[in-house]
């Protein structure tokens, strides 16, 4: 089981009385990119938000099933949620940098995790920006307010911020939906490079993006995982008629 990142069995989730995930069973392999597709409201965002317990912030949220990361129960009472979210980082739909300098955007989280030596912070800030393919564009303006960056740069800064705390897995919730095609291409290229070191799950509404960036794909519909498999199989020869209809634009 060492070669499995996430091992999820019969995951059910609900907001109040509304059940949004109806028994999801899926295995996510490390150092791979898994794309989750499906129409709005199908449960895919709830699914990835459950993997680092961001949904805990919603009072009516309930979850059950075996939800393991590296063989440990994510929802165990003894799980350190701050540490969990460090190991399993998340990048959201809209870039959400802090209204601080580029440098501080990355250093802020590091300080929370106990890094205080300036040289160490400098090193990690530089390394993170390089990993996020942003360093060359911002290295001379690290004191500049992050909100002055373009949307694509802001999103890469958010990725750098997530990478700074040395996560193992990255969850992307529609990371390019607010970006232009050039910025989208940069993020996709970045995801491709990052999978060498991280386990990546990406929720996307863009079918072509799912096909381009991922190794495995899952199709969610009405809270169920209808189909999961190798991306090339799903986009050339899906097994389920509902997947076929969705990815060929016949519904959804």
């Amino acid at each position: 089981m060492n070669n499995v990142a996430f091992n999820i069995t019969r995951m059910r989730a609900s907001y109040g009385n509304k059940e949004v995930l109806k028994g999801i069973t899926i295995t996510i392999l490390p150092n791979s990119v898994t794309a989750l597709i499906g129409p709005s409201g199908c449960g895919k965002s709830t699914f990835i938000r459950s993997l680092n317990r961001i949904n805990d912030l919603i009072p009516s949220f309930r979850i059950s099933g075996d939800i393991l990361y590296r063989q440990k129960d994510i929802y165990d009472q003894e799980t350190d949620v701050v540490e969990l979210r460090r190991r399993i980082g998340m990048v959201f739909q809209k870039p959400n940098p802090f209204p601080k300098s580029i440098y501080e955007n990355i250093a802020y989280g590091l300080r929370i995790h106990g890094f205080t030596i300036k040289e160490t912070l400098d090193e990690i800030v530089e390394a993170s920006l390089k990993k996020a393919a942003l360093w060359d564009e911002v290295k001379d303006n690290l004191k500049q307010n992050a909100l002055t960056l373009s949307g694509g740069q802001q999103q890469r800064l958010c990725i750098a911020r997530t990478l700074a705390t040395q996560p193992e897995a990255l969850l992307f919730d529609e990371p390019c939906s607010a970006l232009d095609p050039i910025s989208t291409a940069k993020i996709e290229e970045l995801i491709h490079h990052l999978k060498k070191s991280y386990t990546i799950i990406i929720v996307t509404h863009n079918m072509q993006q799912a096909a381009r960036v991922s190794d495995y794909s899952g199709f969610f519909l009405l809270g169920e995982l209808v189909e999961f498999g190798k991306t090339q199989d799903m986009f050339t020869a899906p097994k389920d008629k509902r997947t076929e209809d969705y990815i060929t634009g016949r519904f959804g």
């Binding site: 079918m207 072509q208 986009f235 050339t236 020869a237 990815i247 634009g249």
Partner: protein
């Protein structure tokens, strides 16, 4: 939900059918030219190839446009890529009908070496296989496509029979028969190649419908 893409796919399908019907006609006409040793009929077959070539280019262009503009997935992707492959096979089949017509021009003006028996039979088989392969494409009929693939060995046997007869009974016995035997040998070869292309089309149709690769894997039929 009716999609704009569906309309475009129908146009592509219509082009394939138009091309297929020209090819079927060319094969039949080349055989008639052979039976009558009719130069004019053979020339007509040769001239008719231009229309097939133009359709091939048009199908390629339309397919590339659809791939670029719609980024099709799944069954749509398989349909378009197979349409491109099928049009290549059809174009080669039309070329082979032209090759037969050229052999007819070589034979015309001389008496036939022998009465034609197996070659017309092979031609009928080639026409049936071509028609069935195209019908299987139109009707998305896997059963019919499989039937075409299984016929290919009959085509090989008939070609071998023609070859053996011409070599053993004519060429080996009478050197002066060579110039009239070789075109017949080649015609049998051209017809057998037409059957191979019909088989390719049937294999592509099965992939298009079931996403199952049977090419080079007949055990999967």
């Amino acid at each position: 939900m009716e999609r704009h893409l569906d309309e475009k796919l129908q146009e592509l399908k219509a082009d394939i059918l138009r091309m297929g019907s020209l090819v079927e006609h060319a094969i039949g006409a080349s055989m008639e030219a052979l039976k009558q040793l009719d130069r004019d009929a053979a020339e007509k077959v040769i001239c008719s190839d231009k229309a097939v070539d133009e359709l091939e280019l048009s199908i390629d262009e339309k397919s590339l446009d659809l791939l670029a503009l719609y980024q099709p997935m799944a069954v749509d992707l398989r349909f378009i890529t197979m349409a491109m492959k099928i049009s290549t096979d059809l174009e080669r089949m039309a070329d082979l009908a032209v090759d037969i017509a050229q052999r007819v021009l070589e034979l015309a003006g001389k008496p036939l070496l022998k009465p034609l028996v197996d070659i017309p039979q092979l031609a009928v088989l080639a026409q049936h296989m071509t028609k069935d392969a195209l019908d299987s494409f139109v009707k998305a009929d896997v059963f019919l496509a499989k039937k075409v693939i299984l016929c290919d060995k009959d085509a090989d046997s008939l070609r071998n029979k023609v070859q053996a007869e011409l070599i053993n009974d004519y060429i080996a016995k009478d050197k002066s028969a060579v110039s009239r035997a070789i075109p017949l040998l080649l015609i049998a070869r051209h017809l057998e190649r037409i059957c191979d292309h019909a088989t390719n089309i049937a294999e592509d149709v099965i992939y298009m419908i079931e996403a199952k690769v049977v090419k080079h894997h007949q055990e999967r039929l």
